[in-house]
């Protein structure tokens, strides 16, 4: 993450007619990371992605890819981007191979063996010369990946790549994405409305809801947070106790809420904290634990639309 960002989104807004769909999103993506763009249906994931690849005009703000502005220098900016936006719609009356030939003609300097290489990477060798209309959804997704990878992009954008796939298909796609990210060292920006899926796939996750980016966190942090509980201590004197805890446990998230001291700690540590508080002469008149896992937090944010 010390590297220069490959994508910079600055205060991105989109207005269609009178309604604002995206309300000022700012985000940086770094080389080699798999970034999850998580949000319920209608949150604005596809709209954001459409602006990133120049399919939709930006109302306000700016997007830079590899240092080039998408609005002002589209061809340069998009040169190192591959993507699937919503469904991988390809020409059904052409063979998979002809589809790839088609896209390869739109990129300068592409070698024919590169096509064969990619076909092998996504495991479509056997059926590549058949018409796309005979393909299953999973095969179409893989062909979609192939067209996105043809020109060795630095950034791969995938909009809900597992939509409509069965669990086996989902696992398959996940394997490919991981493999690609590791082998080709490219940044993957993948959107989804499924938290569980994102956790397995991504290094970092940004949560979007109603066109706003609510939080961006590393999956590692999220997983740690997930074991934590907010524990409310009814303690006297309150402010002195707060100060004491802050000094003794600087890494513990602590705050004052009403008449209570609230600590985000792991369940198994509750005894220890209680002991320390009592042993240092504070008066404890009640403990109340509030379950607040990650998933519940999402559900609260998104009003229950987010599938876990």
């Amino acid at each position: 993450m010390k590297n220069k960002p490959i994508v910079q989104i600055k205060n991105l807004k989109k207005q269609i007619g009178k309604t604002t769909i995206i309300h000022g999103i700012s985000l940086d993506l770094f080389p080699g990371e798999v970034f999850g763009f998580l949000g319920p249906n209608g949150a604005g994931k596809t709209t954001t992605i459409r602006m990133m690849v120049g399919l939709m005009k930006i109302t306000e703000g700016e997007i830079f890819i590899n240092g080039f502005s998408v609005q002002k220098n589209f061809e340069k900016a998009i040169e190192h981007v591959g993507g699937i936006i919503e469904n991988p719609e390809m020409y059904k009356f052409l063979s998979g191979y002809d589809n790839l030939i088609h896209y390869s003609r739109m990129i300068p300097k592409i070698k024919k063996h590169k096509i064969d290489e990619i076909v092998k990477l996504v495991g479509l060798e056997k059926r590549i010369h058949e018409k796309v209309k005979t393909y299953s959804l999973g095969m179409r997704q893989r062909l979609g990946l192939a067209q996105a990878l043809l020109h060795s992009p630095k950034l791969l954008i995938l909009d809900e790549p597992t939509n409509g796939l069965d669990p086996a298909g989902i696992r398959e796609i996940r394997t490919y994405i991981r493999k690609i990210a590791a082998e080709e060292n490219i940044t993957v920006f993948v959107s989804s409305h499924l938290l569980s899926e994102m956790q397995l796939l991504c290094d970092r996750i940004g949560i979007i809801h109603n066109g706003k980016l609510i939080s961006v966190e590393t999956v590692k942090n999220m997983v740690e947070e997930q074991n934590e509980v907010s524990v409310h201590f009814l303690v006297h004197p309150l402010h002195k106790a707060f100060k004491f805890i802050q000094e003794r446990y600087p890494h513990t998230l602590s705050r004052i809420k009403g008449e209570r001291l609230v600590l985000n700690i792991r369940e198994e540590d509750i005894t220890e904290y209680t002991k320390v508080i009592v042993n240092h002469g504070f008066k404890l008149s009640g403990i109340h634990g509030e379950q607040k896992t990650l998933e519940e937090k999402f559900i609260e944010i998104t009003g229950g639309d987010l599938h876990v």
């Binding site: 005009k57 020409y91 003609r105 300068p108």
Partner: protein, 319 residues
């Protein structure tokens, strides 16, 4: 440039790898053959006398008609072509130049040039679909996220449509030549084409005449295809583009005819698409010239192309 050729290759691949395209080609060939058979076996005038007698009879009829018209008000331009035909008929008899209209390969080929409008239907179908179907099938998204600007993509699509138009015309021309030569042989290949110009009859080369007929008839086709292309780009709906273009193509001339007493009618597209009116016939509205029509056509053409381009360039793709 190299870039552009590859884009056109792509569009061609999408046109010619479709079964529907070849069905259209098959239909064109079928229609050419059927017209040949009808021309030869159903329409052939069972001439009793020589062509001279036939022409004299036709001239008599023409004179009768001219007299009738002259006693009627509001006939206007209708008399002029009849009179010219009369002069040409006299020239034929005096100089021993039989008409080509029936029973020759030339007659067949020039009569078939009228059915370029049939080929136009197919070209309009292709032109109306080439942008719109990318939107309806959603393939537009993957097409536009490439390092190629939208104007080039649109241009490649337009060029591919025009190439298809030329392909269809060649098939018609070659097809009618083959069918004509099988049915009528190569007799009387040297017959000239007669035109009435500036008060006298002039002999012209037949093959250039037929080629120019095809050329002039395809002006209509090009304009309507460009129109369909524009509608399809603006509304992203190929059925609408096909329907509207065909409706206008087949009724436009009639509408102009109905309104021909007004001067402004000459600025309507359809008053100008039929350029054949300037070589074999009389203009719809007095005072219209070939130059005038070509200027109007170019103005419409620029308007259609410009509209398509602006809309395509600015469009938010939310398909």
């Amino acid at each position: 440039m190299y870039n552009m050729i590859r884009l056109i290759q792509n569009e061609n691949m999408k046109i010619y790898k479709r079964l529907g395209t070849w069905v259209m080609v098959g239909l064109i060939i079928f229609v050419v053959i059927i017209s040949g058979l009808v021309d030869k076996f159903l329409l052939s005038s069972n001439m009793e006398g020589t062509w001279q007698e036939e022409l004299q009879y036709q001239s008599m009829e023409l004179e009768k008609q001219i007299n009738e018209y002259e006693s009627m008000p509001m006939v206007g331009n209708a008399i002029k072509p009849l009179k010219e035909q009369l002069v040409i008929n006299e020239y034929r008899i005096e100089n021993n130049v039989p008409p080509v209209e029936n029973e020759t390969i030339w007659g067949f080929m020039s009569s078939l040039s009228d059915i370029t409008s049939f080929a136009a239907v197919f070209v309009i179908v292709i032109g109306a679909g080439i942008v719109a179907t990318e939107f309806t099938t959603g393939t537009i998204k993957l097409l536009l996220i490439r390092p190629v600007n939208r104007a080039k993509i649109l241009l490649s699509k337009y060029i591919a449509t025009i190439i298809f138009a030329i392909f269809m015309l060649i098939i018609m021309f070659a097809g009618s030549f083959v069918v004509g030569s099988i049915l009528y042989g190569f007799d009387r290949l040297d017959l000239p084409y007669l035109v009435y110009s500036g008060g006298e009859v002039i002999e012209r080369n037949m093959i250039t005449h037929i080629l120019s007929l095809y050329g002039l008839n395809s002006v209509d086709m090009i304009m309507m295809v460009t129109f369909a292309f524009m509608i399809s780009t603006v509304f992203r709906n190929s059925s609408l583009a096909i329907g509207l273009s065909l409706f206008l193509m087949f009724t436009g001339q009639q509408m102009v005819m109905l309104l021909s007493e007004y001067q402004w009618v000459k600025y309507i597209l359809f008053a100008n698409t039929n350029l054949v009116q300037y070589i074999s016939g009389t203009p719809l509205v007095d005072g219209m010239t070939m130059t005038f029509s070509i200027t109007v056509l170019i103005a419409y053409f620029i308007c259609f192309v410009f509209t398509s381009w602006i809309i395509f360039e600015r469009r938010d793709v939310a398909a």
